[in-house]
């Protein structure tokens, strides 16, 4: 009754090829897409080595498992999830250990998976729906035998225990995924009712949430057809290496019909303006139009949300140098891609 993970053979190659220093552990991420019936894993990427500043940390615990830098693993997961195109998300973690540590691996994985989910989903602007899968997968690999043990945890339930799951390698899991793309004009105006960072954070979050709700409620047309129901995503063409669907998003101008104006004395305001280009992929196993619509909408929201986060981090670093004036920030620095080479199939 457990979940079934269909894994691209490129991932198998990657996992098999991981080098570990004797006695040490390697962590990494697994990414892909979940659907109610099955899950598709198309990417694996190892946690990069952390450049430590100053003295190397002395071993704290009894085993290398205790030395796993949870903060670094989750930070890496967050950066990767920001860069994944729509439709793809982090599905879980893998952990490579020497045989003597195998029996404690499950506990380590459980700690990591809950910490990671918590960190990634913090500040997310959209709510999970009933259909969303909340299981994350943990894959343990023995560095000597290369044997894998696959289990899932329901990350919405802190008390959940590990459930067995199927891990099947297949060819072509990541090929022929329909892609949806669109460019979205964003124009959000957020008043700041105070200047303390708590208040500005809350204002930003409320303002962006309002906007995100509009996007979620928007009418979505895929290839000219309403993407409302359980009908299959129609590409209109014979399947090629990937098929490209166009998306039109139309907002309902639904505001509260108050009969009064809201006037607030604000210490300032924040405007987010510009055009974001968004993409979403949907798995190739009879995808439904409304899931495709949901994937692209979430990508739009995530894209804007992470851009704003980066702007605000930037602001925080440069704080103090621009008071009382209009400050215009453009994102100049792009993160380096930590993308598996095989991902190029999808991009």
């Amino acid at each position: 009754m457990g979940r079934s993970y269909f894994v691209d053979e490129a991932v198998e190659e990657y996992l098999v090829g991981i080098q570990t220093a004797p006695g040490s552990c390697v962590t990494g991420l697994l990414a892909g897409q979940s659907s109610p019936q099955r899950d598709f894993v198309v990417l694996a990427v190892q946690t990069p080595h952390r450049e430590s500043e100053g003295q190397p940390k002395a071993s704290r615990g009894v085993s290398p498992l205790d030395d796993i830098d949870v903060e670094w693993v989750t930070e890496h997961a967050k950066q990767v999830s920001r860069m994944l195109p729509g439709g793809l998300s982090i599905l879980g973690l893998f952990l490579v250990t020497p045989p003597e540590l195998s029996k404690d691996a499950q506990n380590a994985l459980k700690r990591l998976i809950f910490a990671m989910d918590k960190y990634i989903t913090k500040g997310r602007l959209w709510e999970l729906s009933e259909e969303d899968v909340t299981d994350q997968v943990t894959l343990h690999i023995c560095s000597k035998t290369k044997k894998t043990v696959c289990k899932t945890f329901d990350v919405k339930d802190p008390k959940s225990s590990a459930k067995p799951a199927d891990w099947k390698y297949q060819t072509g899991v990541s090929s022929s995924w329909p892609m949806l793309s669109c460019s979205v004009e964003v124009d959000v105006q957020i008043p700041m009712t105070g200047s303390s960072s708590d208040i500005t954070d809350k204002c930003m979050k409320d303002g962006l949430r309002r906007w995100a709700k509009q996007i979620e409620a928007a009418c979505c047309l895929i290839n000219g057809r309403h993407a409302l129901d359980d009908s299959e995503l129609v590409s209109g063409q014979v399947k090629t290496s990937f098929c490209h669907s166009s998306v039109i998003l139309i907002l309902h101008l639904k505001l509260d019909e108050r009969s009064s104006a809201l006037v607030q004395l604000c210490s300032g305001s924040v405007k987010v303006r510009g055009v974001v280009h968004c993409r979403a992929y949907i798995h190739n196993n009879k995808p439904k139009a409304r899931h495709a619509a949901q994937a692209i909408k979430r990508d739009i929201i995530n894209t804007v949300c992470s851009r704003v986060e980066m702007f605000l981090e930037d602001l925080l670093i440069n704080e103090g140098s621009h008071k009382g004036t209009v400050v215009h920030h453009v994102l100049r620095v792009l993160l380096e891609g930590i993308v598996h080479p095989k991902m190029k199939n999808l991009s």
């Binding site: 009418c219 039109i248 309902h252 101008l253 300032g268 851009r307």
Partner: protein
């Protein structure tokens, strides 16, 4: 009445937003106007989308007319749109409306204003602009509501262009109202109201500021009465006079004008004289008040009050039995213990209450025996022609409401349109018309020997 076949009604809420550094400064007016200018650009941009409610139809009116449905093009007649609209599941109310083929007014096509975000005008990368000066942030919903009356063969494209123009004009009207009624940082929401005026004006829209009562908008109405050449002695443009769209239900649940579903009797050489405007049918047992056997005159009075409210003469709600009784105590006509009793009232009391609660004067007509009512054709015809108000008639042991007469000046033949307050059932139009609770009666309907008093309410001369 309307000659047109369709009313296209487009609604949508645009958010007005602006930041004022100093709400009392000279700059603020131009800042507000700039925000309105931006909204006007928005509705003339190619990103505006109209959707037809209860249908998959989407129309881009500003991109050389594109629609989401292939068979609907700019050349399509606007009536073609009907085949795409899914009608609501019929409850019993709806199906009775459909059976009523006599009074099929224009069909209302409801549309909503939407905005596409996926065809951006530019391609600028996202940026974040932070302003750190103290400002007054103003946010206000603008409840846009435009209506266009058209005939069935009008092109759909013309309808859409007309609606875009109407949106533009409405935004301009709203800007005027917002600027006129603004005090510093206090803003009033501009609200559109539709009015059906006599031809050639037809269906017009006026924007009024929310919260300003009709009594303070007299000068605005005087201007409009002049502009549209409306008579200066009766209201056309009070909020209560707003056009009631045929597809809208009345939220209070009372039936309106049940008499329109009846065919007047066919009397040779006779003319029809009817109540003007809209009234609600009040009768026994409504509002959880069991007044069976004693409340008939009270209900007739309520029907009359509902007429004055809906024609815009008063803003007060229709009075309850208790309020009616209290009014009679207040004018000294009854002792305090009258309140809460089940005592009957007559035409004189009705006249007194109309004066006390509504400021309305009434004429009393006395008839010494019921048989004489047949001779009052001229008076009643004149009343319905000039005043057009419902008439309360009390006599014998009963009270009724007269809504009109069919009367021949030559032969003297007469029939009376009666609304009977003694009905104890629910608001079922079929029963009420079939069983004659609202119906045409002959002179034999009256008790031939009893004497009757009629209360004929007079319209106040006001706009």
């Amino acid at each position: 009445m309307l000659q047109c076949d369709f009313i296209f009604r487009l609604k949508g809420i645009l958010e007005f937003a602006c930041q004022l550094d100093n709400p009392n400064g000279v700059q603020s007016q131009s800042t507000i106007s700039k925000s309105f200018q931006d909204l006007r650009s928005k509705v003339t941009s190619k990103n505006i989308v109209f959707t037809v409610c209860n249908s998959p139809v989407l129309i881009w009116p500003n991109t050389g007319f594109q629609s989401s449905v292939e068979s609907l093009t700019e050349a399509s007649a606007c009536g073609d749109i009907l085949q795409w609209i899914e009608s609501d599941d019929g409850g019993s109310k709806k199906s009775s409306k459909k059976k009523d083929k006599k009074k099929s007014g224009p069909t209302v096509v409801n549309m909503k204003l939407l905005f596409e975000v996926t065809e951006p005008a530019g391609n600028t990368a996202p940026s974040l602009i932070r302003v750190s000066t103290q400002q007054h942030c103003v946010k206000m919903p603008l409840p846009l509501d435009c209506a266009l009356s058209v005939t069935t063969d009008e092109r759909l494209e013309t309808v859409c262009t007309g609606l875009v123009e109407a949106l533009n004009k409405q935004l301009a009207d709203m800007e005027e109202v917002v600027l006129q009624y603004r005090k510093g940082s206090s803003f009033l929401v501009p609200q559109p109201f539709h009015f059906q005026l006599p031809e050639p004006a037809g269906l017009i829209t006026v924007v009024y500021p929310a919260g300003v009562p009709d009594s303070q908008l007299q000068a605005v109405r005087e201007d409009l009465h002049r502009k549209f050449e409306l008579p200066c002695d009766r209201p056309y443009l009070r909020r209560a006079n707003a056009f009631h769209f045929p597809d809208a239900a009345y939220k209070d649940g009372y039936l309106r004008n049940p008499h329109i579903h009846l065919n007047p009797p066919n009397i040779e050489d006779a003319k029809l004289y009817l109540v003007q405007g809209v009234y609600s049918y009040h009768h026994y047992m409504q509002d959880h008040v069991d007044d069976n056997g004693w409340g008939c005159a009270y209900r007739s009075l309520q029907t009359i009050c509902s007429w004055f409210q809906q024609q815009g003469y008063v803003e007060t709600a229709v009075p309850t039995h208790t309020q009616i009784q209290q009014a009679l105590v207040d004018v000294g006509d009854k002792e305090p213990r009258f309140v809460g009793s089940r005592q009957w009232i007559g035409s004189i009391e009705v006249q007194a209450v109309l004066n006390q609660l509504l400021g309305v004067t009434s004429k009393i007509m006395f008839v010494s025996q019921g048989s004489e009512l047949a001779t009052k054709g001229r008076e009643l015809a004149n009343h319905f022609q000039t005043e057009g108000t419902p008439v309360m008639i009390g006599g014998g042991v009963l009270a009724h409401t007269i809504l009109g007469v069919v009367w021949s000046e030559n032969t003297g033949q007469i029939r009376f349109l009666i609304l009977d307050p003694h009905y104890t059932g629910g608001e079922d139009l079929q029963t009420i018309t079939d069983k004659g609770w609202c119906g045409w009666k002959g002179p034999e309907f009256w008790d031939q020997n009893a004497y009757y008093n009629l209360c004929l309410p007079q319209r106040p001369k006001t706009i």
